[in-house]
């Protein structure tokens, strides 16, 4: 499992799983270096635990990870919170608050909306429009201009391009990779009103104007490729939502 610097102080640690159709899906986490410590955003799925720990150890050295941000409580993204907490005695931030039912008895609660400071950096928080579990929170790091949208801005990729930025993809961001990811992973989109989803998503992009968008399950998207991605997701959400066929006799 390799890593790559997205900016001077944001490291992308990534792996990928084959989807069985010639494509792959990322599992990612991101490390943000602040003045007084490292913030780890998400922790990956359980399958990559040791590899991710090795990568993080190589970056942080003796400084350790001070805080882990769990953007949601779901196996693909937060399966290793306990492992990192044990390794570094790190604080855990979880927008859902302390919750024994999620296996998180002690946490720092940040809101799903608002602005927080940590390690000399300012983070904007927002509840994303492409979400699955409750408490899902997207984070924008003002210092680096990187948006961390978890399940937002995701897409499948060619396994040969796992470590690439969007600008380095041979065919650019392919529409079918965006469509198929969301058809598989956000089942509720068929119940969606696509205008609401897209309006919310475009609003977030306009508000933050990110330099880089760093999803949990996709190649990082550089600023010049964001309009292409947004066009793709608008078309994909509309197609998935329009595929719903009314079936009940009262319809």
């Amino acid at each position: 499992m390799p890593r790559r610097q997205l900016t001077d102080d944001v490291t992308w640690v990534y792996g990928a799983h084959d989807t069985g159709d010639g494509r792959a899906v990322h599992t990612s986490m991101h490390l943000v270096e602040g003045e007084e410590g490292y913030l780890l955003i998400n922790s990956g799925d359980h399958d990559v635990r040791e590899a991710f720990l090795d990568q993080i150890r190589a970056v942080v050295g003796d400084r350790g990870v001070g805080t882990i941000f769990a953007q949601e409580s779901h196996i693909p993204n937060s399966a290793n919170v306990s492992a990192f907490r044990e390794e570094y005695d790190a604080d855990v931030i979880f927008p859902g608050g302390a919750s024994p039912i999620h296996g998180l008895p002690e946490v720092i609660q940040w809101p799903q909306y608002g602005t927080e400071s940590l390690y000399g950096r300012t983070f904007d928080l927002t509840r994303g429009s492409l979400l699955d579990l409750p408490h899902t929170t997207w984070i924008f790091d003002r210092s680096s201009g990187v948006l961390f949208p978890l399940e937002g801005f995701c897409y499948y990729h060619d396994p040969a391009e796992t470590g690439a930025l969007s600008s380095e993809l041979a065919d650019g961001i392919r529409y079918e990779d965006v469509h198929d990811f969301y058809e598989d992973m956000l089942l509720w989109l068929k119940y969606a009103d696509p205008r609401k989803v897209i309006e919310d998503l475009r609003g977030i992009v306009d508000d933050f104007d990110p330099e880089i968008i760093a999803p949990a399950h996709g190649n990082p998207i550089v600023r010049e490729d964001v309009p292409t991605y947004v066009d793709h997701i608008e078309r994909a959400v509309t197609e998935i939502a329009d595929s719903y066929e009314f079936k009940a006799s009262t319809a």
């Binding site: 799983h17 989807t19 899906v25 399958d47 693909p76 999620h102 429009s129 409750p134 939502a241």
Partner: protein
């Protein structure tokens, strides 16, 4: 692992039919923040209408259902990590010397799947079942040891036949509902959830002190199914209605509410009403504000806590 906020309930038989019993295993959690919201916040007081008495305690249930057929046994969901001992002891108490043959995880979230591996350790020959939907990559759902099933798959337990059904209000993409054909039990996972009074633990909805209403269901759906804000409520209504027409269930058995029976159309209508309300007003967030309220606060002084009026 145990927790003083989780209150285990004794398993109780909620249907019999041609098998040896369908048992409801409940874990209740204190919903104090929700009670505070309904008691103290102006918006919350509006939602209390018709079902909630100011200052009263509230619980939210986390449910598993154990089906004991004449040949095979099946557990649907495993409770949360906070109730590990409870679920193992409850299953042992019902099954006695019999084996647990199937453990079905409705989806890969801790309050539902939190004790899967503890149960697999206790019953090493058990078959672990998860949904085929979601990512094709088993590792992303921790389904490497699971048999992944599609909607429509049936399992004969002897006396009982279960069928896996497409969900309506789902969060994780790898989600299954379950229908048992003999008793008409339909396990609806994150659909039809609602909080209840502590004295109503272990009761069917129709046995509760106060009849449940749409405001009560909004308290759950608004926080746990946040995508309803982006939904077309007419699609949600259609899918709920289609399920009732197609599967004709007798009992709706949610993961986060008391079991429902009788006039099931009424409950489906509450599901629709809550979807409609949330699509118009936005989801409820952990700080117990609506999205709209928070957006307004950000345009003002940007202090969501102040906007909460706490």
């Amino acid at each position: 692992m145990s927790s003083d906020v989780c209150i285990p309930q004794d398993p109780q038989e909620i249907a019999t039919g041609s098998g040896e019993g369908v048992f409801w295993i409940e874990e209740c959690i204190e919903a104090g923040a929700m009670a505070d919201y309904l008691t103290k916040h102006p918006d919350g007081q509006g939602y209390a209408e018709g079902w909630y008495e100011t200052g009263h305690g509230l619980h939210l249930s986390i449910n598993a259902y154990l089906l004991v057929g004449t040949d095979k046994t099946l557990l649907f969901d495993t409770l949360s990590p906070a109730s590990r001992d409870h679920i193992v002891e409850a299953v042992e108490g019902v099954l006695g010397d019999r084996e647990l043959d199937y453990v079905v995880v409705s989806h890969d979230e801790a309050p539902h799947a939190g004790n899967t591996f503890a149960l697999m350790e206790r019953y090493p020959d058990v078959t672990f079942i998860g949904a085929e939907s979601g990512s094709p990559v088993d590792e992303l759902h921790h389904f490497e040891d699971a048999e992944r099933v599609s909607y429509g798959t049936e399992i004969d337990l002897g006396g009982y036949t279960v069928e896996f059904v497409e969900p309506v209000f789902s969060d994780s993409p790898a989600t299954l509902w379950l229908l048992e054909h003999d008793t008409g039990l339909m396990c609806t996972v994150d659909s039809f959830g609602f909080p209840h009074y502590p004295e109503d633990c272990g009761k069917f909805e129709d046995e509760m002190a106060t009849e449940m209403n749409a405001n009560q269901m909004i308290q759950y759906n608004g926080r746990s199914i946040q995508w309803l804000e982006f939904a077309d409520p007419e699609k949600v209504r259609d899918q709920l209605q289609y399920h009732l027409e197609t599967y004709d269930p007798e009992i709706l058995a949610p993961a986060h509410g008391q079991p429902l029976r009788g006039d099931l159309e009424r409950y489906a209508e509450y599901g629709y009403e809550s979807a409609k309300h949330l699509s118009e007003n936005g989801a409820l967030l952990p700080l117990f504000l609506t999205v709209k309220k928070l957006e307004e606060s950000q345009k003002g002084d940007g202090d969501p806590e102040a906007a909460a009026g706490d």
